[in-house]
Structure formats: structure tokens, C-alpha cells
Amino acid sequence: MTDRYLELVNSGLTQKLAQQLGLPRPAVLRRHRPGRPLLDGPALVLGTGPDADLVARLLSSPAGGAPTTGETPAVLDGWDVEVHRHATPDVRYAAVVLVLTGVEHPDDLTAPVLAAASTLKRLRPGGRVVTLSHPALDSDAPAVAAARQGVDGFLRSLAKELRQGATGNGVVVAPGVPVSAPSVVAALRFFLSARSAFVDGQLLEVDSAAGELPTDWEKPLAGKVAVVTGAARGIGAAIADVLARDGASVVAVDVPAAGEQLAQVANRVRGTALQLDVTAPDAGDRIIAHAKARHGRLDVVVHNAGITRDKLLANMSDDRWASVLAVNIAAQLRINEALLTSGDFADEPRIVSLASTSGIAGNRGQTNYAASKGGVIGMVRATAPLLAPFGGTANAVAPGFIETEMTARIPAVTRQVARRLNSLQQGGQPVDVAEAIAFLASPAAGGILGRTLRVCGQNMVGR
């Protein structure tokens, strides 16, 4: 699905015109291509203390690792980025990382924040600002809680100020979890990378030190078997593509009626096609049986299959309400039940489910859809603890406005407005959702438990 407006404001005469008229000028986002460097310029790591030092060393160390020096523990594998610890005038940074885990008073934010501020006008297109901080807890001293919660407000506001496809996101590290924990490292890398192109203004909590870093960041899913429901088209097909690109063997699932496109997806990703209605009572058993028989194991289940039957609640028919709930949430619950009781989904399993910003902020005409998607958010929160004993997790991704066949059916003017209502002033691509799902499905994300990550370009509604 193309966004004509985005093309116009990025080319030729119309680009100048948009500039002179002060029209919104969404940028063409940088997206992940295997083999490209993590960042296309130097990174600035701000903050003091061992956590900041560790992050700086992680970014700057060569691939392959660096030994222990003094107080700083060894870095197993670095990202080979040019790192500055102080803002150098005139340098165009590709990323600014604010390590704020040590803040104890709102005053402690001043120095790193103002240092970051000095770089923003020269931030490269598609630049990244990432904060690392601890969550504000009820048990914190008031000044500590204020400083920590302050990071939240600061980051969300800064993300709204960034331009040219730059994004701001934060990793919120639970108490007791080291900054070197796999999920912290992987989340930091995800937010710095082009994989998070349409993730903006989000603070992702890391709950534990579980998880395992990949030996190859280009193939984080190597050896894993992943099931994707609703894989015949749109976001589901993109998920299958990205999971396969990241090394997974993919079982592409969709209703029998979508079999033709499903076969094309399965052949493209060199996986297998399983024609199956996820609402069938035995869907979970059939998914497990297929994955085990054909691929020997099952590691990842992506619950992507979903439908919309929009109507104002006053006009809602029983069928419209029931079918949306049946496909979007009841089927997932039933399949998860089968997965949990099978004994075949117990080796660091991952469930990643599709929520929606409608389920967070609400959307007129989507009471049924929002109930199901809100349900997904609750479901993953309650499912993650059940999987944690096996090193497993369940998380959700909540897409905002994504350019798909589904959103292409929205009336033109409404669609144009909906696209612009986020900090990146454009709709996301299916691949943007897929990247977030691939990240949460990866072994490194084992410490992210029951969370919902928004992929919405920082939509104006909701958190």
C-alpha cells in the first residue's frame, strides 16, 4: 500500500512546496537490510557510572568481545560503533543513548538531558534517542521515584519533537536486573536499529535477566520453529518473511479459504503451509502435531490471525460481536491452553500476540475489536508467568495505523488523517510490526514478561 503524500513531500518540486507551506513532511524511514551496519554514524553515550560505561563499551567493542578492565565486567560481543562520551560540537550523531539508571533526584536528569539537547539539531535522519532507566516504584524514595518517572515524561515528549524519521524509545530495567542482561542489551539494540523504524515514544520494561544473546545478530532465530497464524497476507505474511529471514523455520497457518496465498508465502519462506481455522476446537493440537512432525519442535507461536467487524455498539449484531471475540482472543486462549498442557512447548517457548492500539486507547466503532485486543494484552500478562518456569515468555505487539489491505479500505480522507496522527506522520509498514514480533520471539527477549510493545509511530492516542 503506497502513501502518495509521503512520496510527494520527499521528491522534487512538491518537496519544496511542502516545505514552504509548512505542511507535515513525513520522512522515508530507514529499515533493516541484512548486512547493513547497526548505525550509520557515531553514537553518543551520556550518563555516568558503571552502567553507562558498560553500554559505551558494548557499543564500541569490536564484534567478538572485549576483556574485563578494572571495575567493568567483560563485554562478550560488541557492536563496533564509534562512541563518544561527551557531545562534540558539529558531529552528526546517529544515536544518543542516555543511561539514566543512576538518577536519584530530578536534578540528576539535567546534565545528560541538556547534553543530548545540544546534539538534536544535527541528529542524522532516522536518528535514535534511547534512554535506559529504572521504573519508579511505590517503595522508592519520593525523589528517586520522581526522577525515574520523569524519564517517562521526558522521553515521550522528546520523541514528539524528533524529526526526519528519528525516534525516541526507552528501556526500563526492573530492579535487580543488570544492564548487561540479554533482554536489556537486545532491547537497546532493537531500539537503535532500523528494525524499530516505526516504534516511537515507547518505554519497554525488562523484567528479568532471563534470555540468551544470539551468536549472530542477523540470525537471532536460527534453529527455531515458529508458527504464524493468519500468514497468508498483510502483516502475517510479513511476519513469516521476517522470522524466516532471522533464521526460523516457519509454519504458515491460515484458513483453508486463504490457501492459495498461504502456499505462496510458505514457498517464499521455505516453510510449510498448514490450512487451519484457528477457531477449530483442535487447532492447538493440530498446530503442535504439524510442527513436531514436520519440523521436529515448536518454539514460537505468533497469534496474528484476526478480523474486524466494525459497528457502533448500538448497532452491533450478536454475530459481529461473537465472531471477532472468537477469532481474536478465544482462539488464542484455547491454543495457548493446548500449548501449555502439551509438554512440547517447554524449551524457552515464546508466544507473541497481536494486540492493537484500539485495545489500549479505544476506537469508535470497534468495541468488539478493542475488547478482543484489550483481552490479548491481559492474556499475555497472565500467560507469561506460566511460561517463565521453562524460560518462556508471552508478549504482545500493538500496531497503530499500518498500511495493509485492511487499512486501504478506510475512506481516503479519513485514511490520510489517520496516517498523520503520529510523531512520524505516516502509517507503518507490515514489516515494522513483524520486526517487533521477531524481536520478542527471539531468545534474547526472555526477560520481557507479559508486556505489550506498541508499533504505532507514537500515535497521539493512548500511552
Binding site: A258, A263, N267, R294
Partner: protein, 446 residues
């Protein structure tokens, strides 16, 4: 010099049906009106590849064919393979044995596997009556050839001058028998009359076919046998809501000139159909190496033919003679078979076949038996419907039947074994064909 072991005739190893895939069958001029044989066969292959994860796999051999074939499709199967997700190093060949084409590919490839020549194979077939070749008249063809052979403009003009307006009319393909000029339906009408098959009995066969096929779709039985194509998700000919009353209202279309009452209608005859089917075959080793489950072994096959031109036997009666020979080779009776699949070219084909097998006189005089060959319980006959409901794209029918019954055999055997019964579960597949041909095969659940 190494010691030579005594030469014994080795028992061939088993060849298994590992799965299948077909596209839904369309009525002629319907959803696949713009699809060629190559398009459909490629789609059926790609669906099979997707289901079993065979992308880039070099399969031992692919054999398929079409009954109605363009001359440009001289290498139809190989071209379909090249257009599919299979490895381009997969060899392929075309087969053409009228309506038995599909089953013949299964038989011949299974035999190659049994002999150790192949580890894996894909059998298949495709046909379109929507995209059938249209030939020029014999006279025009002759003239055009002479024009191309002519050396001077004068010779060319002379050749062209022989043409008359009527020579420009195209010759469309026909399904009539070259030797009798009777259509298949007219032939079967003769056999129907000969065996005194009633209209009601034929309509019952048709109704059962539709009901069973519809039920199988509703149960999801075809979820791993059929991949939708061009917007079609079920066989277009399927009428789940048909009834004896509706079937009874149809006017007879064949046998109108006979003394006997005309009983064959569009409802109890197969319509012209477009479609394609494939069957994945392999040795036990190849199946294990590819994490595939053998569904059924292709045990044996027997072809037959009748002299329908001069003799008393009907055009489509060859299986009546082939099946007794096939079963005798294995010491089996009809009653020993858990499933019997008789291709429903016409409802009356099934009924005349069963009538012949049930006849004491026919058994003694024509089959050389002590009495009647046997009977088939309708509960074991065409259990998930057959061609009357699904349609019959000639060369694709064999693959449809084999994949369907292999899945059923495997499921039946699994439930039997679970109940402590280890006895073999067998199926007979019988396909009649133009030219008085018939091909039959014996399958046993793995």
C-alpha cells in the same frame, strides 16, 4: 574376487503415498476459464510443495499429463516443474492414457520407487476443457503446410487457391470415440440399457456423492488435500443442497434415441471440468528423512481393455475384468477391501460395474469364476464422494482419488491399531477410460 550371494528375485520394497494436493475443480468456462493446463498443474505442484516444505527439493521424478493438450505443451510436466518451487533439477515426463492418466502416473512412479530407481516422485494430472486446443480443419492444415514448403511466391499462391471458405471453420476437440463416433455418454447409455440400470438408482449414486463430498469439506477433511485457486475454495460442481427431487427434475441428455428409457441426466453424469491434482510418493527411507508419514502403500495395479467396437462389453467396462485379476493375484475378494473407489464417470458406470460383479452368470461366463465376483457395501464405496460431485478434469481424477483414499486409509488404520486391531486396511481404486480402457490399483494403509 568377492563371494557372490546366490541370486534370488528380491522382493520389491514398498512405495508409499505420502500426501497429495489438488486445486478445487471448476466447471468448464468457470473460475479457471483463463487458466492453462500448465498454470493449473504448476499451482497444484506449488500447493504440494508448500504443504510438505519441498521448496528447492530435487524430486526423483515428476510424471503428469493431460488428455486435452495443446501441441505447445509437448513438455507440459517439465515446464510446470520449472515454474514451480521445486528444484529445477527435478526430471519430469508426460503421460497420456485418457482418463486413466492420473492413476497411471501413480502406478508407474510407484513401480520405479519399488524397484529402487527412485526415492521420491510426484504423480499428477491436469485438464481443462475451458482452454482446450482448437485445431484448424484438415484441409486448411494441409494447405498451410504446403505454403510453408513452397519455394516460390507462385507455388504459395497456388496452394492458397485451393482453400474454400468452409475450410476456415475450426475443428474443436471432441470426446467422442474415433472408431464409433459415439460420445462417451451415448456409449454409457448403451451399457446402462444393457444392464437395465434405473434412473432412481443413478440419482441415488449422484446424491450420495454430493452429500459425502460436502460432508468431507465441512469436516475439514480436505484441509490438507486441497489448496484454493483463483478464488475457488471448493469444487464448483458440488451441490451440497441437492436432493432426489431436484435430480429427478432434470431431463435426460444421453440415450434419447434408444428403445430403453433415457435415464442419464446432467445430474448423474460428470460435467466438463477444469482442474489439477498431485500425489507425493516416496520410499520409507525418503519419507523418514523428510519427516513425512507414509499414508498408504501402492501395492499393485492391473490395466484392462474391452473390445467395445465389436464386442458386447460397454466402453467403460474394462475395470470389471481388471479388478478380479488384480485381486486374484493377492488372494483377495471384493469383501476383503475396506474401501472401494470407482470413478464416477457416470453414476451408471458405477452401477453397471457393480451389476456385472454381482451377476452369477457374468461371473461364470465372462470372468471364469464359480459365481458372482462379489458385492460392495455402499458404506465402503466412494466414501468421500467422487467425480459426480467433485467434477472430472480427466487426467486429474486419478490423483484426486489416490490422495483422498490414502489419507482415509491411514486414518482408519490408526484408529484400528489404537483399538488393538492390527489387520491390514485396503482400498481398491478403479478408473475407466476412453478407448475401452480401465486401470485399477490396490492400496494398503501404512
Amino acid at each position: 574376487m568377492a563371494t557372490r550371494t546366490p541370486s534370488t528375485s528380491p522382493t520389491p520394497r514398498a512405495a508409499y503415498v505420502l500426501g497429495g494436493n489438488r486445486i478445487p475443480f471448476a466447471r468448464a468456462g468457470g473460475k479457471y476459464a483463463q487458466a492453462s493446463n500448465q498454470d493449473m498443474l504448476t499451482a497444484a505442484l506449488d500447493g504440494l510443495v508448500a504443504r510438505y516444505g519441498l521448496q528447492g527439493e530435487s524430486i526423483g521424478e515428476v510424471a503428469a499429463g493431460a488428455v486435452l493438450k495443446h501441441s505447445r505443451d509437448f513438455n507440459l510436466t517439465r515446464e510446470a516443474v520449472l515454474g514451480s518451487a521445486l528444484a529445477p533439477t527435478t526430471p519430469a515426463y508426460d503421460v497420456q492414457q485418457a482418463c486413466a492418466t492420473g492413476l497411471e502416473t501413480v502406478v508407474s512412479l510407484s513401480n520405479k520407487i519399488r524397484l529402487g530407481q527412485l526415492e521420491s516422485a510426484i504423480a499428477g494430472g491436469v485438464d481443462t476443457t475451458s482452454d482446450a486446443p482448437i485445431a484448424v480443419s484438415e484441409k486448411l492444415r494441409r494447405v498451410l503446410l504446403d505454403v510453408s514448403h513452397a519455394k516460390t511466391p507462385q507455388q504459395r499462391l497456388q496452394a492458397l487457391a485451393r482453400l474454400r471458405p468452409k475450410d476456415l471453420a475450426p475443428a474443436t476437440p471432441r470426446t467422442s470415440e474415433p472408431r464409433t463416433h459415439l460420445s462417451m455418454g451415448e456409449h454409457q447409455a448403451l451399457t446402462t440399457a444393457q444392464w437395465e440400470i434405473t434412473r432412481e438408482a443413478q440419482d441415488e449414486v449422484a446424491l450420495r456423492s454430493h452429500q459425502r463430498l460436502a460432508a468431507a469439506y465441512d469436516d475439514g477433511f480436505f484441509d490438507d488435500l486441497v489448496t484454493p485457486y483463483r478464488g475457488l475454495t471448493r469444487d464448483a460442481n458440488l451441490r451440497a443442497d441437492t436432493s432426489l427431487e431436484k435430480l429427478a427434475k432434470l431431463k435426460p441428455t444421453f440415450g434419447l434415441g434408444l428403445d430403453a428409457p433415457a435415464t442419464m441426466t446432467a445430474g448423474n453424469s460428470t460435467p466438463l471440468t477444469d482442474g489439477a491434482s498431485t500425489v507425493l510418493l516416496g520410499s520409507a527411507d525418503w519419507a523418514a528423512a523428510h519427516d513425512l508419514t507414509p499414508l498408504a502403500a501402492v501395492v499393485d495395479a492391473e490395466a484392462g481393455a474391452v473390445d467395445f467396437v465389436h464386442g458386447v462389453d460397454g466402453l467403460l467396462m474394462a475395470p470389471v475384468f481388471a479388478v478380479p485379476r488384480l485381486l486374484a493375484r493377492h488372494g483377495l475378494r471384493l469383501e476383503d477391501l475396506e474401501y472401494v473407489e470407482i470413478h464416477e464417470a457416470f453414476a451408471s458406470t458405477v452401477l453397471t460395474t457393480l451389476a456385472a460383479w454381482g451377476s452369477e452368470e457374468f461371473g461364470r461366463e465372462r470372468l471364469g469364476l464359480d459365481g458372482a465376483f462379489g458385492t460392495v457395501d455402499p458404506a465402503r464405496l466412494n466414501v468421500h464422494g467422487s467425480s459426480l460431485a467433485a467434477g472430472h478434469p480427466f487426467a486429474a481424477t486419478g490423483g484426486r482419488i489416490v490422495a483422498t483414499i490414502a489419507k482415509e486409509l491411514h486414518a482408519r488404520r490408526a484408529s484400528q491399531v489404537a483399538a488393538g486391531d492390527d489387520s491390514p486396511v485396503r482400498a481398491l481404486v478403479s478408473v475407466c477410460a476412453a478407448g475401452g480402457l480401465g486401470l485399477t490399483a490396490l492400496l494398503e494403509a501404512a
